[in-house]
């Protein structure tokens, strides 16, 4: 099976969906002639022309709304945010229009579109360019939220997102673009709302998505050296959430650590913790632990940034805590 990067996997997904469906177009800042700020759209302008790969000026609220209007009347837009930080100036469009038009019109108008781009902390880009916004978007009924952690998932989930009848917030891991993995040449889809067990284990369940999956996988390898087998569950889609895969794992292991790169207050992990305690109370041998970024805007200096973002050591410490080894 070919090994390609996360970035290439996304590119292939967009290319295949645009080839398959003439209604699909890509719009965003620098997606065309510049070939994408993160090069996800490399070559697409040449393949599909300016009609379907549209460079937008810096007007996120405007072009997010253009996508919504186009989706209402039957197109299937992919709107790229150069980074999800900039989606905040379009959040009225996403929350008040994209998420609600299906409901407000009593099902007459669907909004089949994807808002995609990188999110989560990058490296030394400081507070305004380094934050995780999935908890914001997962709060909103009418949206779906997908966050792939591997090239395989990136391609399969993005193709599903483009084909979905609803607005999908598709947050790519900014630090994952260069990671590589096996991706089949034949067409496949990863359905929205389906978690995957990325590593089997019987002693503790680690729940993580996007950039925290590699961190948890590394932590699990280290723990294995001491005979602790961690199971790593990646929900892949935060809304809708595949609760069953997570709770089945916790019922098996009896211990749960949720690792997220977002802030702790009202973070998505709190929702998972609530659901796990509700479904698994009798199986839990220890209180659920959460590992999150620190409750601060992201600092610039590399040493401070490392302190803020969850690292392998913190995951191991949390596992030791729920195993009463600390």
């Amino acid at each position: 099976m070919p090994v390609i990067s996360y970035r290439e996997a996304l590119n292939h997904a967009i290319r295949e969906e645009m080839e398959r469906d003439e209604r699909v177009f890509l719009m965003g800042e620098e997606v065309g002639y510049y070939q994408g700020a993160y090069k996800v759209s490399q070559g697409l302008l040449q393949r599909f022309s300016e009609r379907r790969v549209i460079d937008a000026p810096i007007a996120e609220m405007g072009f997010a709304g253009v996508g919504i209007g186009a989706a209402m009347v039957g197109l299937r837009p992919i709107i790229e945010f150069m980074t999800f930080n900039f989606s905040l100036v379009a959040i009225d469009q996403i929350v008040n229009n994209a998420a609600k038009i299906y409901q407000m019109s009593a099902g007459q108008f669907t909004i089949p579109m994807v808002f995609r781009g990188p999110g989560g902390p990058a490296v030394q880009v400081a507070s305004q360019h380094s934050q995780a916004l999935e908890s914001f978007y997962s709060h909103v009924p009418g949206l779906k939220v997908a966050m792939p952690s591997t090239p395989y998932d990136a391609k399969g989930l993005l193709k599903s997102a483009v084909r979905d009848e609803n607005p999908v917030i598709f947050i790519e891991g900014e630090t994952l673009y260069n990671t590589t993995g096996e991706v089949p040449e034949d067409e496949y889809l990863v359905p929205l709302g389906q978690a995957e067990v990325k590593r089997q284990g019987q002693h503790v369940t680690l729940v993580a998505w996007s950039s925290m999956v590699p961190v948890c996988m590394a932590a699990a390898e280290k723990l294995a050296e001491d005979g602790i087998e961690a199971e790593v569950v990646d929900p892949r889609t935060l809304r809708p959430l595949d609760e069953a895969t997570i709770t089945a794992s916790v019922q098996k292991t009896g211990r749960c650590v949720i690792v997220e790169v977002g802030w702790p207050m009202c973070g998505y992990g709190a929702e998972i913790a609530y659901r796990v305690q509700r479904e698994c109370l009798d199986s839990l041998d220890a209180p659920i632990e959460r590992v999150t970024s620190d409750d601060v805007p992201m600092p610039y200096a590399i040493n401070l940034e490392r302190e803020v973002i969850p690292q392998v050591g913190e995951v191991i410490a949390a596992v030791e805590k729920v195993l009463y080894l600390d």
Binding site: G65, G69, Q103
Partner: protein, 358 residues
């Protein structure tokens, strides 16, 4: 048309209203000098249906106000009474396949696009038979069948959506035109600015229609805009523009037709400012204390309903019996719609409309 010979006095704020500490530009006044151009000729065949629509919207809005005061309609209710000629004339310039995007003051626009008074009033009553099954209420009427793309409650937030519908028409080459309505209060917010900027840049077939009624809620024009003429914003984008009084439905239709034809033939958008006035408050909870009685009365002398009726009688040869027949017909239609709204079953479903699953 609206060429009232009345010498209108510049409205002064009511005496108990505090004056702004910093007076705005003296060039911005809170009044419009009525235009005195000659009315465009119209046939009875053209004007009578438009008159009927204006009248039906007026009676529908009055019925809504009554039901609201009886507690049968809840939430916010923004009436368009006084402004009807703008939506009726503008939408009268469209084809059925064209799109309309409107604000939360959209009952008239929905009706003019073809949504029935039954569906509108039932929606206001929160009934299952309403335009959107009781999920949207007064501010969110949508109708796919008539290409009415909705009423939106966030000021200016719908302007990019209209640009998007225009984008889709250009993408597909389907020859459709989108009309986007908003008030002058929208012209300061980002959604408006970005929406028209993109429509101008990409040459999208959209006509942006500012229904300038002089007040963004309770704030008069001279305290909200540095430049009174909203259509001037088109200049910054190299966009065509127009500006005129909205009291005569024929005039509105003719002038909007020029912009619609431009959009259909060249793909170019237009920003139009139509000067109008709402006779009632911003919403039912607004007694309108920020306006003088004299100002409101002056505008009522330019009532679009009266102008259309007068023109029918004086210029189009419509007989009193003929006009009465239309009025009786409208009366029956609205009475039926009120009865339908009251007797319809309550809304009963909300769960199926969160996400669409295959």
């Amino acid at each position: 048309m609206g060429k009232s010979s009345t010498q209108s006095q510049a409205p002064t704020p009511p005496p108990d209203t505090p004056q702004p500490a910093v007076p705005s530009s003296s060039s911005v006044q809170n009044r419009f000098e009525p235009e005195d151009d000659a009315p465009e000729p119209a046939s009875k065949e053209e004007l009578l249906p438009l008159y009927r629509q204006i009248l039906a919207i007026r009676r529908m809005e009055e019925a809504a106000a009554k039901a609201y005061s009886q507690g049968k309609i809840g939430g916010f209710l923004h009436l368009i009474i006084g402004q009807e000629a703008v939506c009726v004339g503008a939408i009268g310039a469209l084809r059925p396949e064209d799109y309309v995007v409107a604000t939360y003051r959209e009952h008239g626009h929905a009706y003019a696009k073809g949504v029935s008074s039954r569906a509108i009033l039932a929606e206001l009553h929160g009934k299952k038979t309403g335009a959107v099954k009781g999920l949207g209420g007064s501010m969110h009427i949508f109708d796919k069948q008539t290409n009415f793309l909705g009423g939106y409650g966030i000021v200016g937030g719908h302007v990019p959506i209209a640009a998007g519908a225009g984008f889709a028409s250009k993408y597909r080459g389907d020859g459709r035109v989108t009309l986007c309505f908003f008030g002058e209060g929208s012209s300061t917010i980002g959604g408006f600015q970005e929406g028209i900027a993109l429509a101008a840049l990409w040459k999208l077939p959209v006509v942006f229609i500012c229904e300038n009624n002089l007040y963004s809620m309770g704030t008069p024009l001279y305290r909200s805009l540095a430049v009174e003429d909203v259509s001037m914003r088109a200049l910054a984008h190299g966009m065509a523009r127009d500006r005129f009084d909205g009291d005569d439905v024929i005039k509105v239709k003719r002038r909007i037709q020029i912009a619609v034809d431009r959009a259909r033939e060249t793909g170019e958008p237009t920003l139009v400012e139509v000067r109008t006035y709402r006779f009632r408050g911003h919403s039912m909870s607004d007694p309108g204390l920020y306006r003088t009685r004299e100002e409101v009365d002056e505008w009522k002398r330019r009532d679009p309903l009266g102008i259309a009726r007068r023109r029918l009688a004086e210029e189009c040869g419509a007989g009193e019996d003929e006009l009465r027949a239309v009025e009786d017909d409208v009366k029956q239609e609205i009475a039926d719609a009120v009865r339908f709204a009251e007797e319809s079953p309550a809304a009963d479903q909300y769960l199926p409309y969160v996400t669409r699953e295959a």
